[in-house]
């Protein structure tokens, strides 16, 4: 068993050497192999893998450097996780400006993937909130990158998949909150048109929006639209999330557990459970943002064969979502089923990173058990549709897109390539270049 797999457990990495960097003042560990920084390994596919290469671990870069409680500016080492940041800043009324669906990501990883969250329409990506960072090159050179100095390298490194050098520390802005609690509404919708109008209406008044969709059973696209804002609640005003308990998936579940029938049943059940929706309630940030964090190693439910995530973004305003319908159609016909399908609109804030994923449009994230060749074919078909409408597939979640697709999804690729550190690479990079 590989000690440093990706979160999707597919593909399997070959002969990776792992060395921790011992402090932010240290030199990069050397080995003559191609380097790749490695945080908590939450990327799904092969962008956090380095076959026959060296992974540089950041677990000792877990220190804070400064935190100004008045302005919400924070400086910390790149291996500090969002989990740790919340523990330190939340009791003082601050929160992460942007967070993905797990708090077990490092600051370095969040920058390298320019992660987004449920507030993209308001806040953009994580990179938008980064003020500066130090980049350690394999030459030993240390560069402070910001919008003002070394700005090209700054914009190459945001969303740069860890290929431009090693981030030792970063400074970014937090966001002020009234309490740990989110006033949430859940609204059921039964068509894509409904979803779009709900999105449009909600983005005006709500900081956070996201939808769970059933792309297996229904004729049209149905799902539950969730929207919310941090509220002002006096009781337990700044209550922190708990340490993870004993809930964990202790071993790989057998293949039989997830098949098209069980996925269908799950989707149907989940939908019915929330049918009585149009619910309003207050929910703690932990289950709201990080529903799966309470179950350790939930990635093992798909068994040893692993699973693939597929997340893409496509514009929808011109075609009213026709391309999205097409993709849903392919998925439904393929009977691949997806446990978790998450739908959200991205706002118009342009991404700054040369390879950042988000752009204005609608994004869908899907999980598939690793069905092998059959699944790869289906996803390639989806790629073609994404390509035809100038969309993009998310590298942090990819394990299979082609060179051609990658180049089409990321038009600033050649500009980016100038900034790659000559000693850095990844399995993903060698696959798509």
């Amino acid at each position: 068993m590989n000690e440093f797999p990706s979160w999707g457990l597919y593909p399997k990495a070959q002969e990776q050497v792992f060395k921790n960097i011992s402090s932010r003042f240290s030199k990069l560990p050397t080995s003559g192999l191609a380097c790749l920084p490695r945080g908590l390994g939450r990327s799904y596919g092969d962008s956090c893998l380095n076959d026959h290469g060296l992974l540089i671990g950041t677990s000792y870069l877990n220190h804070f450097i400064d935190f100004d409680q008045n302005t919400g500016k924070i400086i910390c080492e790149s291996g500090v996780s969002f989990d740790e940041i919340l523990k330190v800043v939340l009791p003082t009324g601050w929160f992460l400006p942007v967070t993905p669906g797990t708090k077990y990501v490092t600051v370095g990883g969040a920058i390298a993937n320019d992660v987004h969250g449920k507030n993209h329409h308001r806040a953009g990506n994580f990179g938008h909130h980064v003020l500066k960072f130090e980049l350690l090159k394999s030459s030993g050179e240390r560069l402070i990158c910001s919008r003002e100095s070394n700005s090209d390298l700054f914009f190459a490194t945001i969303g740069g998949l860890g290929l431009t050098g090693f981030i030792t520390w970063a400074e970014f802005k937090l966001t002020k909150i009234q309490s740990s609690w989110i006033h949430q509404q859940q609204i059921q919708f039964n068509s894509l048109a409904d979803f779009f109008s709900l999105s449009q209406e909600s983005e005006r008044d709500f900081e956070f929006t996201v939808s769970w969709v059933d792309c297996v059973n229904s004729k049209d696209i149905r799902g539950i639209f969730i929207r919310g804002n941090f509220g002002e609640i006096e009781k337990d005003r700044y209550r922190l999330h708990k340490e993870p308990g004993m809930k964990r998936v202790p071993f790989f579940l057998p293949k039989i557990t997830l098949n098209s029938l069980s996925v269908r049943a799950f989707n149907e059940l989940y939908y019915r459970k929330n049918l009585s929706s149009n619910k309003k309630n207050s929910i703690h940030y932990d289950p709201f943002f990080y529903p799966l964090d309470s179950i350790h190693h939930w990635n093992k439910i798909y068994g040893r064969r692993g699973f693939l995530q597929y997340q893409f973004v496509i514009p929808y305003k011109d075609d009213q979502g026709a391309a999205l319908y097409e993709i849903f159609d392919i998925l439904k016909k393929s009977q691949m089923g997806s446990f978790l399908a998450v739908l959200k609109t991205f706002g118009s804030i342009p991404s700054e990173g040369m390879l950042s994923f988000p752009k204005e449009g609608v994004t869908l994230a899907l999980d598939f058990p690793n069905h092998g060749e059959k699944l790869l074919k289906v996803l390639s078909k989806c790629d073609e549709i994404v390509k035809s409408v100038q969309g993009a597939v998310y590298p942090a979640k990819d394990a299979r897109m082609s060179k051609e697709s990658f180049a089409a999804f990321y038009p600033r690729l050649s500009e980016f390539e100038k900034h790659i550190d000559p000693k850095f690479s990844s399995s993903f990079w060698r696959r798509v270049r």
Partner: protein, 245 residues
Amino acid sequence: MKKILIIGATSAIAQEVAKIYAQKKHELILWGRNAEMLNIISQDLKVRGSSALTIINHDLNDLTAHASKVDEIWSTHSKIDIVLLAHGVLGDPRKAEVNQQEMLHLLNSNFISHASLLTFISQKMVKQGYGTIAVISSVAGDRGKQSNYVYGSAKAGMTTFTDGLRNRLFSTGVHVVNLKLGPVDTPMTKDHKKTPLFGKAPSVGRGIVNAIEARKNTVYLPFFWRFIMMIIKSIPESIFKRLRL
């Protein structure tokens, strides 16, 4: 607000303990050898909430400085609530079997310097009439085995010293905690193959804080080492000497 002296403050486990105390706004005095790391750690602990921080940058194996450094600490801070001894080295066990220098280095860094420090610290604690001394020892001290008996014997010395000190100080109101740690995934064990028995530094850190709070005498961390060592200690020597442990 408590005053806590952490000796060997740059160790990963000591850092985890310090983080917990910092979050509780306590005052920390960090003693260690690596000035750069001490600075990194003290910045971190300040952000995490520590109300005051002092750094003492001095090699702990310099026994001649122990008396004056301990004097200095108590004259600056007058009273210390908790002292944690967390320094130590694993060294090279194979080399220590044949090389006198390495053997003495292991004994000095894992026992002699602790015994020396405790001699001075215990006097200060007795004088103030309260407080807790916590010492990080190791399950390796519970029984000598071929893989690391030099390290193990230093830790056995620590364990006996600590237990004796607890006994002597009981009537003075000063409490002594002996923390017997199993292997933990830290920079100290970076070259060791990790098994499921390896503890994680954050949870071991929490275990230490809990043990200090609960005024435990001897604590195994992670807890299951108590049972493992119970079994290992009960193997008759005639059999044990044949094992390759």
